[in-house]
């Protein structure tokens, strides 16, 4: 029980108290940053006096709060941790947080935090983020991978590792930063993969991430739009054991209500799935039987409203594909669809022999 209580109080850490304390103790140097004008906060002027990392975090947190920037505390912490060469503020040694920032560092803080002030996502501001055990480069407007997609990779990995031993190939449609393909390749050493995206920026970013992780021997990246150029996809790959995608699945009507971070910075083509959010999904499922090997599988991340719609649509429209199951994400939403190609006739004959 004691443990429980301790955990509850630990859930939120507060740096604000700490900042105030330092302010009192310092007393002396009156940087512009502590003047009332800055408290009102349009955009804090770069301080003339020296300030510590902890003070900078608090200053920007409050500034973000006032300007209605989402996740003010996390934003300020992640940006400053990044400038101190760490991933999270918790992993920065306590002494470094209470040391003065150099002039150069202070300017960097101001430069990056100003970007965040314009609602640019933190991942774009610091130009990187973690996905599973990878650290990936991030660049606007390429879609920022969401945590749900980490779970999608988990599903594919579980299946691939079950039938290990044979050489597998997978195809990813809409690779964005390359998160899915690169994670799969990293975890399954004998796997090969194709990654496609309709956006040149995404293709470039996936390529960059691939080289950074040294996975260039096993990944082919192509600039192809599956909606317009199905033929290229089919000529490129066949007999794939897994077709994975986090396709654009938002309903067009939901686009307008997206938070500004997403709406203004991320590629709409990676988000907007048409009226029912199924445009790209339907195209993928139509092509799947020609791309997959016998008993190959499709793994999709979708909107929670989608699974029943997809099941029905496939039953009517794609003969060779079977709907296997719907899986839920960490928060319990129906989020992933798994489908499987039927055992082909050729294989049946082989079995008989």
């Amino acid at each position: 029980m004691m443990m429980q209580r301790r955990c509850l109080t630990m859930w939120r850490r507060s740096l604000s108290a700490g900042y105030r304390c330092f302010e009192c103790r310092r007393g002396g140097p009156k940087g512009i940053w502590s003047s009332p004008a800055v408290r009102a906060c349009s955009m804090p002027a770069c301080p003339a006096g020296r300030i510590t990392a902890l003070e900078a975090i608090d200053l920007w947190k409050r500034c973000f709060e006032k300007r209605g920037v989402a996740e003010p505390e996390h934003s300020s912490q992640y940006i400053i941790a990044h400038l101190l060469g760490a991933k999270t503020i918790e992993s920065v040694e306590q002494e470094r947080l209470t040391e003065f920032l150099s002039q150069e560092q202070t300017e960097q803080v101001w430069k990056l935090c100003s970007k965040r002030l314009s609602s640019m996502p933190v991942q774009y501001v610091i130009e990187e983020w973690d996905f599973r055990d990878l650290t990936l480069k991030m660049r606007p407007p390429v879609f920022i991978p969401r945590p749900e997609t980490e779970e999608l990779v988990e599903l594919v990995l579980a299946d691939l590792q079950m039938k290990s031993g044979t050489q597998h190939t997978c195809l990813e449609v809409g690779c964005g930063s390359g998160a899915i393909s690169l994670s799969l390749l990293k975890s399954v050493p004998q796997l090969k993969a194709f990654a496609l995206d309709q956006s040149q920026e995404a293709v470039d970013l996936t390529t960059e991430n691939m080289f950074r992780l040294g996975l260039q021997d096993r990944l082919q990246i192509h600039h192809i739009d599956v909606m317009k150029d199905a033929q290229s996809v089919l000529s490129l790959c066949s007999s794939v054991s897994a077709l994975v995608s986090n396709p654009p699945y938002l309903f067009s009507e939901d686009m307008a209500s997206l938070q500004p971070d997403i709406f203004r910075f991320e590629d709409h083509a990676a988000l907007d799935g048409g009226t029912d959010g199924l445009n790209v999904i339907k195209q993928i499922l139509t092509l799947a039987p020609q791309i997959l090997s016998s008993e190959g599988r499709v793994y999709l991340e979708v909107d929670p409203r989608h699974p029943p719609l997809i099941r029905r649509w496939v039953e009517v429209n794609v003969e060779e594909l079977q709907y296997v199951e719907t899986r839920h994400d960490i928060s319990g939403r129906p989020r992933f669809c798994i489908l499987q190609k039927e055992k082909s006739n050729k294989d049946h004959e082989l079995d008989l022999n």
């Binding site: 955990c7 996740e71 599973r132 980490e150 986090n246 988000l271």
Partner: protein
């Protein structure tokens, strides 16, 4: 030569502390034989040993030779030999009888468990025979031969000493948890900011200790205070013998000094608590996923592509017990979930162990502290520049070096290990004599 100080734990008869541990071997035989098949060690459920000497005993360490001079030890070794040969006979004899296969399997396990010990005992016997022969040669008339015999005698003595040490080590049962990794929890106790500052120093000390041993040190939770102190932190540590060593660090650590925060130069006494929880393997302890409630920032709203957040914290509640674990150390939500699960498993596992332990003690109607966690184990006195471990009454000097977590802490830790080993050995022998009488 590792010289040991002298102790006599026997004459205290029924009063000495570890007599509390002795008599349940026979009572829990069923449990023990079960654990043989599970974990391959007959003594694995024997006790949760973390040094239980709460009363400062006149604890002294016996030398190897002194221990071997004890009749109880010789009796015990003979008993082991008899047991071994009986089991061996049973195993090699009745191969066809299927109905007692369960018993047979237990005996087979016993044989393989005991064989290194028996081998060493045999070797020791041979060496001792050699020794007698060599001593005969020492009386020879040829001075050259006598010189040779003198040399021979020295190596013989060394070999005998080494073999005896080995036998003692083999007698100490390995605990199941000794092989596991661990979760370390440090929490500030009495003393406000000063206690938190001290907690940060102890945290750094164990980080240094882990580095010193080449263990991994992976922070799960880290809650700092305003002035650079630490309210609470938990860490996953893994590496060779990590739990075996760290378990002796669990308990209340006390600091006596003039705090940085003190204006009038008064001496303060503050405390912090160290908890060391064995980290169970996936196989030895499973959690039903249905019992878990996982909370994230993304739990409300649409999630997925609708939301972009940098808050990847994960909080897991184990519904049947209400135990909570959380992690926000990582930028990846999945990694945070994995780490929180790790912490949760350790918490639940240690609760289970505590429950088992206390159940056993209740059966015997004996009061024992909860694995030493609430006991004051060590004092760091800055004014006198000393660290005293109250369990074994050992004092070392140079607090600053000690807090590096290197040789001085290692020295203290090894002494604790030695005392603990001897305690166990005495339990073992004491039990024999009880059964015998």
């Amino acid at each position: 030569m590792a010289y040991r100080k002298v102790a006599n734990l026997f004459p205290r008869g029924k009063e000495f502390a570890f007599s509390l541990w002795i008599p349940y071997f026979s009572k829990t035989r069923g449990v023990i034989s079960q654990s043989v098949s599970l974990h391959g060690y007959a003594y694995s459920l024997y006790s949760k040993r973390t040094l239980h000497t709460t009363i400062p005993l006149l604890m002294k360490l016996l030398s190897v030779e002194e221990l071997f001079a004890k009749r109880a030890l010789q009796d015990h070794l003979r008993k082991m030999e008899t047991e071994y040969s009986e089991c061996l006979k049973a195993v090699s004899g009745s191969v066809t009888e299927e109905q007692c296969s369960e018993e047979l399997r237990a005996k087979r396990t016993k044989v393989s468990l005991l064989s290194p010990l028996i081998q060493s005992i045999t070797e020791l016997g041979n060496k001792e025979k050699d020794m007698t022969e060599t001593e005969m040669l020492l009386k020879d008339e040829d001075p050259g031969l006598r010189e040779l015999a003198e040399l021979e005698r020295e190596t013989c003595l060394q070999d005998i000493h080494d073999l005896r040490q080995k036998i003692l080590d083999l007698l100490i049962p390995e605990e199941e948890e000794d092989l596991s990794d661990l979760i370390l929890e440090v929490t500030a106790g009495v003393g406000g900011q000063e206690a938190m500052l001290f907690t940060a120093e102890v945290f750094d000390m164990y980080q240094g200790f882990a580095q010193h041993h080449g263990w991994t040190f992976d922070t799960l939770e880290h809650m700092t205070s305003e002035i650079g102190g630490l309210r609470h932190a938990s860490v996953s540590i893994s590496g060779f013998q990590s739990y075996k060593k760290m378990k002796f660090e669990a308990g209340v650590h006390r600091v006596q000094r003039v705090p940085k925060t003190e204006k009038q130069g008064r001496m303060h006494t503050s405390t912090m608590t160290v908890a060391v929880l064995p980290q169970p393997t996936e196989i030895s302890f499973t959690i039903n996923l249905k019992d878990l409630k996982i909370e994230t920032k993304r739990a409300s709203g649409a999630g997925g592509q609708h939301v972009n957040t940098t808050d990847s914290a994960v909080r897991i509640v184990h519904l049947p017990t209400g135990v909570v674990a959380e992690c926000q150390q990582e930028r990846s939500q999945l990694k945070n979930k994995e780490k929180a699960m790790k912490a949760l498993r350790a918490k639940l596992y240690s609760m289970k162990l505590e429950e088992e332990t206390s159940k056993r003690y209740n059966q015997r109607k004996v009061q024992v502290g909860t694995r030493g966690r609430s006991e004051k184990i060590r004092t760091y006195n800055f004014a006198q520049d000393r660290i005293t471990d109250h369990r074994i009454g050992m004092t070392v000097h140079d607090v600053k070096s000690f807090l590096l977590g290197e040789d001085l802490l290692e020295k203290m830790n090894s002494s604790l290990q030695e005392f603990s080993n001897q305690e166990t050995l005495m339990e073992l022998l004491g039990e024999d004599s009880q059964h015998g009488s």
